[in-house]
Amino acid sequence: MKKTTNPTRRDFCKNTALLAGGMLALPLDITASAHVLGDDTIKIALVGCGGRGTGAAMQALSTKENVKLVAMADAFQDRLDDCYKILATKFAGSDKLMVKEEDKYVGFEAYKSAIDKADVVLLTTTPGFRPIHFEYAVSQNKHVFMEKPMATDAPGIRRVLAAAEVAKSKKLNVVVGLQRRYQDSYLACLQQIRDGKIGQIVSGQVYWNSAGVWVNERQPGQTEMEYQMRNWYYFNWLCGDHIVEQHIHNIDVANWFIGEYPVHAQGMGGREVRTDKKFGEIFDHHFVEFTYPSGAVIASQCRHQPGCVDNVSESFQGTGGKIYTDSQNKGIISGYDGKILYEHMGENDPNPYQTEHDVLFANIREGKVTNDAEHAAKTTMTAILGRMATYSGQLISFDDALNRGKSLMPETYSWDAMPRVVPDADGHYPVAVPGVTQVLET
């Protein structure tokens, strides 16, 4: 056997056989330790059974590889049950859904038992928990698919960056759901940029302006922790604010196309329309200016206000032309004379949500490695930096934000534990005040 790194599934079986024979010096890059079946089955655990987690599980189970879902975890029993029901409908009669009753885990600690059962884990809970789950999965030598964003605060990003290094050394696959990086139109446009079609990028505008998202009302009998977990979009420790949870996609395109991360950011934002207490503490708009080492300046807008102009897209201006991209498989490069230089209209391009899973599982079978963790963490940090800039009203450097950004996470996790942000007597949550709010540790 010539291969020395990056074992494929079949290699791995051979290695485990050797191991069973008493060869205890397990190389670090022998992955997916939970493997017990004597075939090429890849066992999957789903951690986070909401709408996106259910979607991710379906995509994982729809890849060409021999995959089985063997364990599930969620903070809430009902979310896990709903998810299982859907998967059971979809995969009725197939052997892809193999979750025993005792391998459905519920609660804050559920992730560990589920991760232990699998070769590949899908981390799709609310973003605040991602650093904890990712760190554990890597420590247990698991390949990972995880949804964006990577964290909601700077300490979380530091944990993810550290775990990303470990994952790299273990040659684990880590695919992150910044699906534009797996979308043909974006990849084609990136190639055009790298080929010099628009020259050097000097400016850009990235947008996620929409009407907003769902809200879950407070129910009688809920503890504050349960309420925040159910209505998570509106609490920063769980969501990161919509600049982090949603607009990260467009900010990521800026970082990716420019090939750098910002030096610093400043911006403005607030709560103008979405002011009811059920909307927690997040802003309904942010407008941030990111400055890059090369001198490029990116204007980043995100808004959750109904009735306004919607726009989810990215535009960049280079020294030789300009480019427009959006998630509808569209990419257009034009000159400053208006002439179209390149056009990608991929009406029937593959679904990037499926492609990212196809890549992950094919990699595992073929012994290849993709690791998105570092750039996804730094892009998440960029979005967090944007939030810190709008909340504080200050010019903040990337390094300060990463190294001195405050923690948002609770001390402990249980239904009776208190989150750091709690409502006043009227049920209103404290909201950041630009010019007053401090976002850095002193």
């Binding site: 979607g55 699906q179 302006n209 907003g212 998202v213 949603q246 109904p306 009735g307 726009n311 998630s327």
Partner: protein, 347 residues
């Protein structure tokens, strides 16, 4: 002969939005309204059969409705593909139809910033509480796909969403609105024509009547810019494809061959495929023909990352919108309830 068509006596055009409409349509519409033998007659429930504007209370929006007097016609086409043949005789009743495709401005009074104020002239055709009508979820992304909203037709709406708009409109106004059946849609589009388009068969003239792949410049356009048909219906050919009430089946017409069918409706039982009609800004000329049928497709939601996928929104159907109709004879409450199709989860 009663010439007191609403609005005309006051020397006022009945459509507030006439400025955005092609004026060439007006003489045609007047002919329809004033032809001897086409005199409005009160139906059993005392409705006069004239053009009117449905106000959307709480906004400046109105939905202009034009009368489509029912009759017998040849549905389908013998020369077309299997799903449109054989041509067969169909009878449809009288109804009003929206002169335009429903716009974002109108749709967002139902979704988004919802306005539930009941109309002061509320009718008694339906007994629905407007507050009780399910509301579309807020879409995460820009559902207009960067093509603009004000004055443009709503797109990316599922049939369930379009029907719930009708239900909300019915509750708000007390008048029974729904989607057209395929038969009603085709009858209304043809407006008496037996040719592939309501203006004939000369595709070099299509640009006068429709936005389609040949002239749209890859985007939809504000409603009502082209020449309407003789009923006064704009954009029946092109701009956006329009929802009907029907399940799509390629052999539907084969089952009707040789007999006359009255008010046919293939009641949907499966989520896919259901039928849209009229073709769109994306399509070649053939797809715009009066008899052309397009089945809905799960791929229209292919980049919806959530499971279950949205009941309300497509992610990849920027060619699909709708317009409303109102039957002249209001069905019984039991009949009406059959039109409010249940949602089916989409995995």
């Amino acid at each position: 002969m009663d010439l007191q068509i609403p609005g005309f006596g006051k020397n006022k055009l009945p459509f507030r939005n006439i400025n955005r409409a092609s004026v060439t349509g007006w003489p045609l519409l007047l002919c329809v309204l004033l032809l001897p033998g086409e005199i409005p007659q009160n139906s059993g429930n005392q409705q006069t059969f004239e053009a009117y504007e449905e106000q959307l209370q709480g906004s400046a929006e109105t939905i202009p409705m034009v009368p489509v007097r029912g009759g017998t016609f040849r549905m389908g086409n013998d020369q077309g593909p299997a799903e449109v043949s054989p041509a067969h005789e169909v009878v449809v009743g009288d109804f009003w139809m929206g002169a335009y495709e429903v716009t974002w401005d109108q749709y967002e009074l139902f979704s988004g910033k919802r306005n539930n104020q009941p109309n002061p002239d509320r009718g008694e055709e339906v007994s629905l509480e407007v507050d009780g009508i399910a509301s579309a979820t807020t879409p995460y992304v820009d559902m207009s796909h960067g093509m603009g909203k004000r004055g443009y037709p709503v797109i990316n709406v599922t049939q369930y969403a379009a029907l719930n708009f009708c239900k909300w409109l019915s509750a708000k106004t007390g008048r029974f609105y729904r989607l057209p059946t395929e038969a009603e849609w085709e009858y209304a589009c043809r407006a008496g024509s037996t040719e592939p388009y309501y203006f004939g068969s000369d595709t070099t003239r299509l640009h006068e009547y429709a936005w389609y792949g040949g002239n749209s410049e890859n985007r939809y356009h504000p409603v009502g810019q082209k020449t309407p048909n003789s009923f006064g219906l704009y954009d029946m050919h092109g701009n956006v494809s329009e929802w009907t009430m029907d399940q799509f089946s390629a052999d539907t017409y084969a089952g009707r061959s040789g007999s006359q069918t009255e008010n046919p409706w293939v009641v949907p039982e499966k989520l896919y495929p259901r039928t849209v009609r009229g073709g769109s800004w994306k399509d070649p000329a053939e797809a715009l023909m009066s008899f052309a049928r397009l089945p809905s497709d799960p791929a229209w939601k292919r980049i919806d990352p959530q499971i279950p996928k949205s009941r309300w929104w497509f992610t990849n159907a920027s060619h699909v919108g709708f317009r409303v109709i109102r039957p002249r004879i209001t069905p019984s409450p039991e009949e009406i309830s059959k039109y409010w199709l249940e949602a089916i989860d989409d995995y």
